[in-house]
Amino acid sequence: MMATAASIPARTDYRHLVQDGRLHGSLYTSPAIFAEEMEKIFHGGWAFVAHESEIPNSGDFVTRKVGTQSLIALRDKDGTPRIYYNRCPHRGATLCQSATGNRSRITCPYHGWTFALDGRLIGLPDEAGYPDDFVKSDAGMVPVARMEGYGGFLFVNLVPSGISLTDHLGHATELIDALLGLSPTGRISLSAGWMKHRMRSNWKMIVENQVDGYHAQIVHGSLLKANRVFATVRDRKSTSPTRVRDFGMGHSDIDHASDYRAAGDKLFRWTGGIEPERLPTYVAAMNAAYGEEDARRRMIEGPPHSMLFPNISLAEMNIMVIEPVTPDISIQYTCPVFLEGADDLNARTLRRCEGAMGPAGFLIADDAEIGELTQMGVANLEPEWIILSRGMGKEEVLDNGVKLAGLMDETSQRGFWRHYREVMSSTAAL
């Protein structure tokens, strides 16, 4: 019999597929690439799961997907947030099937194994039936390998070693700080629930679109025509003072503050131009918290419009989370950001979220439609390469490495893809 070498699976060459100014279309369609992304990006890297304000009380929980994995994020009796795999250690049943809830303990629906919020197995029917070497303390709910938080945003990493969350976030902590800094107390609340929008496009298209300053005139042309406030509150022309920024580590933004500053000292353009007199409680609280000058700067500049690698967007006064389902289906979750101590503004934020976002939103429904058309288009084999070179080589590079470019340049997307290539090309054992 002829000897045969052990088969070596062909490795995808991401340095070929992801080039500086162009991308291979298969990145959006290949099931093999999708599976590798789940492992390397979502399971082997840091991903957002939940915000602490979603589980304010002991026993509060939410269930979330990260990559292919279902997780339970809950608050323990001593106030500690904990994140477990949503799987009974006994025979594998799903422990929590609802999206949110409150439990003083968690009981498996299959055989009734019961766990304390700190994960310990505290009860099981007919415990005497197990052999002597059964160790109850080894059969608790399994926590994720790593959980870290920043500003109440909880991130997980399903592998025990590798870079810290701080290193992963890098400059993105400044974006989170900018959002929290719009709250007079520095705290936000994601208590309004999440819109759930099923999109028929690859998750990376949603990432790219979040920080795309080039599409608004076309994709959102209907709203520009129908809504005067939306049409005038920002400068969306190619000559706009708005910058896009590539922060490294795959994080990027559209820095609307650069437009708001250039447009003068008018507050609240980011709210659709509410007159400050209509937000007296919020303005007073900001002035008291930060002093008039600094409060004024914050209220002019507004929240970040950013995409943090790989799955969370600080989307102005909304948080958006992207959940990959298959190569061509993703779910986008959207929750309005409530600022502690700003009830007058929060009521408007809620209604603005509904107007713009989600499956019926004046903006995002059209983004979803174009995403679907793009997914259908890119499944065609030719021309094979996607062009992503807009503004390339014209970026301004700051001393701290951050790249700035014009509103309509594709610098933000290239920043995502450069980091994607690094992560996907790594050969580190997971």
């Binding site: 999206a99 208590s191 309004a192 629930g193 999440w194 819109m195 759930k196 929008h197 099923r198 028929r200 994709v219 042309g221 209907s222 709203l223 025509k225 129908a226 809504n227 779910i331 959207t334 929750c335 309005p336 009521a347 809620l350 209604r351 979220c353 509904e354 107007g355 989600g358 499956p359 019926a360 004046f362 429904a365 059209d366 979803a368 439609e369 174009i370």
Partner: protein, 162 residues
Amino acid sequence: MDAMSRRSISAEAVHQFLYHEARLQDEHRYDDWEALWAAEDTLYWVPMREGADPAREVSYIYDNRSRLASRIRQLNTGLRHSQAPHSKLRRLISNIEIIDREGHIDVQSNFILVESRRSLQTIWSGRTTHRLVLQDEQLRIKSKTVLLVNCEQPLGNLAFLV
């Protein structure tokens, strides 16, 4: 609406109103549909769960009268990609229950809606609560709440009129 005019509105008239509204929605007759609404202080609501508190929780749609007008203006541009081209729609209205109250009529009904868009056929369903009032002798919608069967699950685009 006084007691006399309330009595003059038959169940059949209410049914016909709901069927007529359904057809205007199915056929994307946006202005005609908007004209079915009362002039002011209206609410078009698609919650994300039964029993939701819209003052604290986000909804899929929570349109007051001016937001509703905005929605129609955007659709009327013909440039709203998520409805250009239009979805093909037909819906059935059934299980109608009328609760006549002081000054208005509350009507609940079920619907099944088939949407055809490109290669995809989607079935939508839910329970609708209309609050109808008489305005210039005509039935008009004061509020409409659509509780989708799948409102707690991820939804595809809902850019047509539900």
